[in-house]
């Protein structure tokens, strides 16, 4: 075997042996297909139990049939996520965890082996934990979000499942041993939030939000108690709301800013202008007076940590700068997001 190139490989692979299944085995498998009723132990039960079970199966089949129009078929984890998992990363909303150890991979397989998933259109609101699976090449295989509810989101699709079925896994994984370090730095946390706003991933965003104060949105830096404040658990469904809110007053015009949350994020928050690559300046814990609106962030949130992303707009005018400030406060030793404050040139 000396000459080795691509066509050599193809040629040899295609001529590898492809034996047929032995006659006996063929017969055996075919009989099993035609006769297999239920898993082994079941057969040992008496005729009465068998009849009862048959009725139950008919009942289940009827239910399945009724539900089939709602795509309610049972799936296992390995049917949805196929491939060999090599690394798992995750977050419980406060800390990040990562591991490629056999113990963790095995714990994941054991925890997921028996989970049965049924696709659903219901969007769950409280999926505050997430894990990401990677294959051997470091490619992302799946994004999984879950919480205390009997629901799970895998790669954007929602499934119903049993209550907290991944708990056996997270009890082992979300521990000091696999934590990637202390709490994320303020800067990293802010980058993460900008990224989640860009992706409109409100489920994940929720995990960063202050549990008691919720998340306040202000279109200008004179933050007040009148600004729209969304409770933490309403964050996941925020962008689906069709109701309009009054977010503040338009600078210069004096008319109210009335729009849906989704439109507000697109028109006022504009996260795409404030990614680490797009922002011109990023200031941490430094309030800069820009424009002529008084900045009341620290009046409203004393001892808050702030990260301001500033985009100075186009070079030929000084009137299209914008900024976005993320405001954090401490909650039980964790840094939690309390406000998203925007600012822009005003006459």
């Amino acid at each position: 075997m000396t000459k080795q190139n691509n066509s050599w490989v193809d040629h040899h692979l295609s001529s590898m042996p492809k034996p047929s299944v032995s006659q006996d085995k063929h017969q055996e498998i075919k009989q099993t297909i035609m006769n297999d009723k239920k898993p082994g132990t079941f057969r040992r039960y008496s005729a009465i139990a068998g009849t009862a079970a048959a009725c139950f199966i008919v009942f289940l089949l009827a239910i399945t049939f009724i539900n089939s129009q709602q795509r309610m078929t049972m799936q296992s984890f390995s049917e949805i996520i196929s491939g060999d998992i090599a690394k798992i990363a995750g977050t419980d909303g406060t800390n990040d965890y990562v591991s490629d150890s056999n113990q963790i991979l095995q714990a994941f397989h054991e925890a997921t082996e028996s989970i049965e998933l049924v696709e659903t259109d219901t969007r769950s609101k409280a999926l505050s934990q997430s894990i990401t699976l990677y294959d051997n090449e470091g490619d992302k295989m799946a994004d999984i979000q879950f919480g205390d509810e009997a629901a799970i989101n895998i790669n954007g699709t929602y499934y119903r499942t049993g209550d907290g079925e991944l708990k056996a896994f997270t009890d082992v994984f979300f521990t000091e041993k696999y934590a990637t370090g202390k709490q994320l730095s303020t800067r990293k946390q802010a980058y993460r939030i900008i990224d989640l706003l860009m992706q409109k991933n409100m489920n994940k965003l929720m995990s960063f939000v202050h549990p008691e104060k919720g998340l306040r949105f202000s279109p200008h830096v004179s933050v007040s108690a009148d600004d729209v404040t969304i409770p933490k658990h309403d964050i996941p469904g925020l962008l689906d709301q069709e109701d309009t809110y009054t977010w503040g007053i338009k600078a210069g015009k004096g008319s109210p800013i009335e729009m849906t949350p989704n439109d507000y994020i697109e028109e006022y928050v504009r996260p795409q202008l404030f990614t680490p690559d797009s922002a011109d300046t990023i200031s941490i814990n430094e309030i800069k007076q820009r424009g002529n609106t008084r900045n009341t962030i620290l009046d409203m949130y004393p001892s808050a940590e702030t990260v301001e992303f500033y985009n100075d707009g186009s070079a030929d005018t000084e009137m299209d700068w914008r900024s976005l400030t993320l405001v954090f406060q401490n909650y039980n030793g964790k840094r939690k997001l309390v406000a998203i404050v925007n600012n822009q040139w005003s006459p």
Binding site: M1, T2, Q4, N5, N6, W8, V9, D10, H12, L13, S14, M16, P17, K18, P19, S20, V21, S22, K25, H26, E28, I29, K30, T32, I33, M34, D36, T64, S68, T73, M74, Q75, S78, E79, S82, G83, D84, N102, Q103, Q106, H109, D135, N136, E137
Partner: protein, 174 residues
């Protein structure tokens, strides 16, 4: 035709194809038993079969999941026995490649070389190289984009080539 008859017909038609996949992906020893598992699973999961992909690629997907589960079980057994996992010795079947590869030494060497590669490479070499499925079918089975199939196949060929070349040089040195 009811579900059983349909699956039985599929078995007649594609049983050998799935068997080949299992031989190369898990090993000749386990392949027959796993073949049965694949078709039992297909029967149980019959409701999740969507006609658009065709039974052949669907059965390959089921087979791949069965293979992955089996490999996990093998690994788990090894951890439980506290035997460290060594890549070069991974599947037990390497030491006993049965008569399937007895005809030519070359077969045995190529089979063993495939088994040392990473899972994605094995999948794509078996489906594209050995089973000669189309890029489209392979993408469907592996749930990859067609581009990923092309790229991974390209890398897998190089990896296989390098492994074989490595062994060749080693043999000559001896």
């Amino acid at each position: 035709m009811d579900e059983r008859q349909t699956v039985a017909v599929w078995f007649d038609e594609y049983g050998n194809d799935i068997y080949h996949f299992l031989i190369y992906r898990v090993g000749p020893h386990e392949a027959e038993d796993l073949l049965q598992e694949v078709f039992i699973k297909a029967l149980k999961r019959f409701h999740s079969y969507q006609k658009k992909s065709g039974p052949k690629t669907w059965l390959f997907s089921v087979a791949r999941n069965v293979a992955i589960d089996e490999i996990r079980r093998q690994k788990a057994r090894k951890w439980k026995d506290h035997i460290p996992l060594e890549k070069t010795k991974e599947p037990e079947t390497n030491q006993s490649p049965q008569s399937i590869f007895a005809e030519k030494e070359e077969y045995r060497i190529i089979y063993q070389a495939i088994r040392t590669l990473k899972a994605n490479y094995q999948d794509v070499l078996i489906l594209r190289g050995i089973k000669e499925l189309s890029i489209n079918e392979t993408a469907d089975i592996l749930k990859w984009s067609e581009n990923k199939v092309r790229l991974t196949q390209h890398r897998a060929r190089i990896a296989l080539n390098n492994t074989l070349r490595g062994w060749d040089t080693h043999d000559k040195a001896k």
